[in-house]
Symmetry: C2
Subunit: 326 residues, 2 copies
DNA sequence: GCGTACAACTTATGCGCAAAAGTAACTGTG
DNA sequence: CACAGTTACTTTTGCGCATAAGTTGTACGC
């Protein structure tokens, strides 16, 4: 029984091994409870069967990243897909792109999924790393030359939401976010577009800035709540912020949707469990993870994929918007 | 420049290499942007520098597991600790223990952290896997012979919470959970003990069963809410269930804490953002992950560790309990 | 000035695997 | 019956690393 014969049996190379010996080998493998050594296989094949999932966060959002149910659902989707294709997932959470890079090359990771990475960082990575990369939720035309993006039609989703608010009679609507880049910018743009199409003006003061860091968040919420009476509705860039805002409003005796309407974006458990239940834009986070992983897997097997995949959103009308049409 | 010399420089084996050649080698390494091939190192050393984090869920709780902010925080804690010690994390989410086992042995994972595994499964794993295992939140005396457990003083936490409820005048208190095993049992026991110490009776009908599966959860909530008037307070086994319950109560016009008091356990963002803010038992989930990883790392470097580590809990009194002392 | 000790290297070996190259026995064909 | 082709194997090689074993040169003591 030579190693090659055994190897052939393991890899199911029929025609090379007689049925007789095949059975013998299989029995033997079972008897000794054989498990292949992946390190050795990797060394010989120069492939690792590992997909790296790198989550990166701006330092000030790191805490939120980890807390967000979004992340665990995403991880779950990726892991499931990858595993059923015989790959393994190495998870990497970091604030430091270089560290991620080093990690990826030491392990000779076969493919990369990046999330939360700034667009230029993604490009930087792709320049060094010569294997397939799929990014989630990036917004960089430049980047699309280097990697595939799996995202959402954020602009359209925000457009629909803003249009809905306007249809309910809202004219003074604020937009709440912590930055104006990437996804947040796309959502803001959709919002602005809806205003414009309805002949409403967007003033820069209608942008309410929330600070993600725990030391600053209270102060920023205080400022925002003080200005609440200026608006009839606040459109938040995420459910997390919508619910955070509603808690702050509630603490100050401002009722939702009685005094002011609030909407979110994402549709996660936070808004679903809130009462009144949050009106929001639904996205299928698990599908995002699954799609990203699937796309990467396809690329690994040499199948061409579009370099931009946009998943649809869906308006979910619940109870945080008041109809104020006279 | 021989491989050994280079290897020695990389591993900082001073005294074996002259300062001169050391510098030369280092310059060279930088120039060619050398990255070690971990597969080769693993093969040579028979160690992988990988820590496996296996999350297992009963089929009916799988969805919840993934959604729960608990999980991502735990993962974050483990990942951070492991990485700063030069290890890597391979994440494994599955309903199937055998699959986890196969994975672990193919990769020759150096150590294992198990979460959400039933006690007997943990033991089964430890019988095959001859390397260090740290479990999180198991409750099996038998298991402690095989692995280290990092957990909480659940019983004490629940005892304090129940005592607090009693001090606020509550005598008819229900306990809500989806099962009576492991952690949930410990919390239930703490609850029962507090009742007993205060000369209150626990009837088996005071246990309210919630069903975790999304198809059944509504029905079980309906039953529970119908019985709400029997109690002045409901102690929930987790914040997730407490908030879920409060949403259901709110939908039926039952006010918290006006009509009934509700408390949770865990202290996660769900309860913190809820209004009224949830009175609960705090646990430091990140610390749990960090402690588990630290303990495993210690064991890997041959340091003895206690086989049972219990992290403290802390009562967090917020706004969901009414003082009903006459 | 011979042996010992040690510093600073180099060479050789094996980890477990996949695949290339080699071998031996058997089969069919002209 | 000789030779090509095929089947069912075995032997060999090399992936990149750490380390054991071997080599060389130099300093020092007596």
């Amino acid at each position: 029984m030579s190693t090659t014969t055994v190897s052939n049996v393991i890899h199911g190379k029929a025609g090379e091994v007689s049925e007789d010996t095949k059975k013998k080998v299989e029995e033997f493998l079972k008897k000794v409870d054989y498990v292949p050594n992946i390190s050795a296989r990797n060394l010989a094949q120069n492939e690792s069967k590992i997909i790296g999932l790198a989550l990166k966060a701006r330092a000030d959002k790191y805490e939120n990243l980890i807390m967000d149910p979004f992340v665990s659902v995403l991880i779950g989707g990726v892991e499931e897909t990858i595993r059923s294709a015989g790959y393994f997932m190495m998870l990497y959470i970091s604030k430091d792109t270089d560290e991620i890079m080093r990690h990826v090359s030491t392990w000779n990771v076969d493919g990369l999924i990046l999330f939360g990475m700034l667009d230029d960082d993604g490009i930087r990575v792709s320049e060094k790393y010569k294997k397939p990369i799929v990014c989630i939720d990036t917004y960089s035309l430049e980047g699309l030359k280097h990697f595939t993006n799996v995202g959402l039609d954020d602009e359209q989703g925000a457009y629909e939401m803003a249009s809905y608010l306007i249809s309910q009679g809202h004219k003074r609507i604020a937009f709440l976010s912590d930055n104006t880049k990437g996804v947040d910018l796309a959502r803001l743009n959709g919002f602005k577009k809806a205003l414009k199409d309805n002949k409403l003006k967007f003033k820069s003061t209608d942008f309410l800035q929330i600070r993600p860091r725990s030391e600053e968040i209270e102060e920023s919420l205080e400022k925002i709540c003080q200005r609440a009476s200026e608006f009839t509705a606040i459109m938040c860039v995420s459910d997390l912020y919508a619910v955070t805002l509603m808690s702050a409003l509630s603490d100050r005796g401002i009722s939702v949707p009685g005094d002011i309407s609030v909407v979110g974006f994402d549709d996660n458990m936070l808004g679903q469990l809130h009462r009144p239940a949050l009106t929001t834009v639904h996205q299928d986070v698990k599908a995002k993870g699954v799609t990203a992983a699937d796309t990467l897997l396809k690329q690994l097997s040499g199948v061409k994929t579009p370099n931009q995949i946009k998943l649809p959103t869906r308006l979910v009308i619940r109870d945080t918007v008041k109809n104020i049409n006279s």
